[in-house]
């Protein structure tokens, strides 16, 4: 029997180790060491990024951390989170897996 592929929100996300990051005045500043792309994340994106420990699926991050913290519609929050995670994965800032990622998590930026 073929196993169903997980949707993005069901997947586990982890911070890549090939990045530099720092919280500057409440805004997360991230640079990819792979292609030197530079990003700044807003508060919601910062919380997703900080929660990306490889052991928590994106759906749980959205329902347990984003929705209680910011008054947003869960459906909209999921769609925005999917788009955000897809973008960051393309730049090597986040990694995504169908299974929990067991490698030691990249530390959160101070």
């Amino acid at each position: 029997m073929r196993r169903r592929r997980k949707t993005i929100v069901e997947k586990y996300i982890a911070r890549s180790s090939a990045i530099a990051a720092r919280l500057i005045g409440g805004e997360m500043m991230i640079m990819s060491a792979v292609d030197s792309t530079f990003f700044t994340l807003n508060e919601v994106a910062t919380l997703i990024w900080q929660s990306a420990d490889g052991r928590t699926p994106l759906s749980a991050i959205v329902s347990d951390r984003i929705c209680p913290e910011f008054e947003v519609d869960p459906g909209q929050a999921s769609r925005d989170a999917e788009q955000f995670v897809t973008d960051l994965c393309q730049h090597g800032i986040l990694t995504m897996s169908e299974q929990p990622i067991n490698s030691p998590p990249t530390p959160e930026a101070r």
């Binding site: 530099a20 720092r22 005045g25 805004e27 640079m31 530079f38 530390p107």
Partner: protein, 363 residues
């Protein structure tokens, strides 16, 4: 405005040191003729001291960390330091001569996520490069290091200091950089030694040769634009900051001394006696540096080049006055545009008004 410029602006308004240059050692396996450092070890910081400082820098909001020396790989704990820095998620750049980098070191640098490696290369001819570094075989080792680093997919930049002894080699180094597929930077600045000794300034290229360098399209891009006369400065220019030194950037020596910049040796505190945040926020010297605006520069504020000059406050400081002109930059502005700086005109006036009859005291 780019994202990076926005972050710089934000860091400036919040008083955050976005960039720190940390020299982990002054020891070196080369003895470059133009080097401004004393290579003896006068009590470098230990691994634990450096790690503690990195923790403090991370807490202070530092994002860009440049690790340099001396030769960084003269420290046996260098990779342990980089590992700690990367664990703290700094963007790490390193400067090296590459002589000690072979395949295993290149792999380790890549594994640690170093963003960029800058390598000094003074000529495309081994005999000229080795004569500058005073280390036989250094050219071969350095070029090999670039290949090892490139094969790991790392970003490598060649930095060439232009002096009288390698004046005609910059096109050769550029061709070599092209062959190695790495970017090339050229700096015609030779700085006085940290202790104020200016003897090495004699190695600088003559001003007349600067003119040729500034008209090389491969180096400067649009020559007409680069060499254009400076526009009249507006109020924003006069209220502007001389550079990022002490504002969003600073320099730390291997002994824990904090300066506004590697080229601005104004002692502003020591990390063996004070916390970084205390020095950064409370040092009277850094406060003084931060208080200076273009309009406060007695000579430069009257200069046509005030808005476009690369005036280095550190070089000015080493000439005796951090609010004064930096003569090397005056010369660059002049040879770039053909328009003399206020400093040059003032000096000429001094010469022309020299008394025709000199009277000496009888006593």
């Amino acid at each position: 405005m780019s994202l990076l410029a926005e972050m710089n602006q934000k860091a400036l308004s919040l008083g955050i040191p976005l960039s720190v240059h940390l020299d982990v050692t002054y020891r070196c396996n080369e003895r470059c003729v133009h080097c401004y450092l004393d290579h003896d070890d006068h009590g470098e910081m230990t691994t634990a001291e450096i790690k503690d400082i990195l923790n403090q820098l991370s807490d202070a909001g530092v994002f860009f960390l440049t690790l340099s020396g001396g030769e960084v790989l003269m420290r046996r704990d260098f990779f342990e330091i980089v590992e700690h820095a990367r664990r703290l998620l700094f963007n790490v750049k390193m400067k090296t001569n590459g002589v000690m980098i072979r395949e295993p070191e290149a792999r380790r640098i890549r594994e640690l996520g170093v963003e960029q490696v800058q390598i000094s290369l003074y000529s495309h001819r081994a005999e000229i490069h080795d004569a500058i570094t005073k280390l036989p075989g250094s050219f071969k080792r350095t070029v090999q290091a670039i290949r090892f680093l490139k094969s790991q997919g790392l970003k490598v930049v060649i930095a060439n200091v232009l002096m009288a002894s390698n004046l005609f080699d910059n096109t050769g180094v550029m061709a070599l950089a092209k062959e190695l597929a790495v970017p090339y930077t050229l700096d015609p600045t030779v700085s006085p030694k940290m202790d104020g000794d200016t003897s090495i300034l004699a190695l600088r290229i003559p001003g007349s040769e600067l003119k040729q360098v500034f008209r090389n399209q491969e180096l400067v891009g649009n020559v007409e634009e680069f060499c254009a006369p400076p526009p009249a400065p507006g109020e924003d220019i006069m209220d502007g900051l001389p550079c990022s030194a002490g504002h969003t950037a600073c320099y730390i020596t291997p002994y824990g001394d904090v300066f506004p910049c590697v080229q601005f040796p104004l002692p502003s505190g020591n990390l063996r006696q004070q916390k970084f945040a205390d020095i950064w926020h409370n040092s009277p010297q850094l406060h003084e540096v931060r208080s200076i605006r273009a309009r406060d520069l007695p000579t430069c504020s009257t200069c046509a080049h005030v808005g476009t000059c690369t005036r280095c406050p550190g070089l000015a400081f080493m000439e005796g006055n951090m609010r004064g002109p930096s003569t090397a930059d005056c010369e660059k502005s002049f040879h770039r545009t053909g328009i003399p700086s206020a400093n040059m005109l003032q000096k000429n006036r001094t010469v022309t008004s020299f008394p025709l009859v000199q009277i000496q005291s009888i006593a």
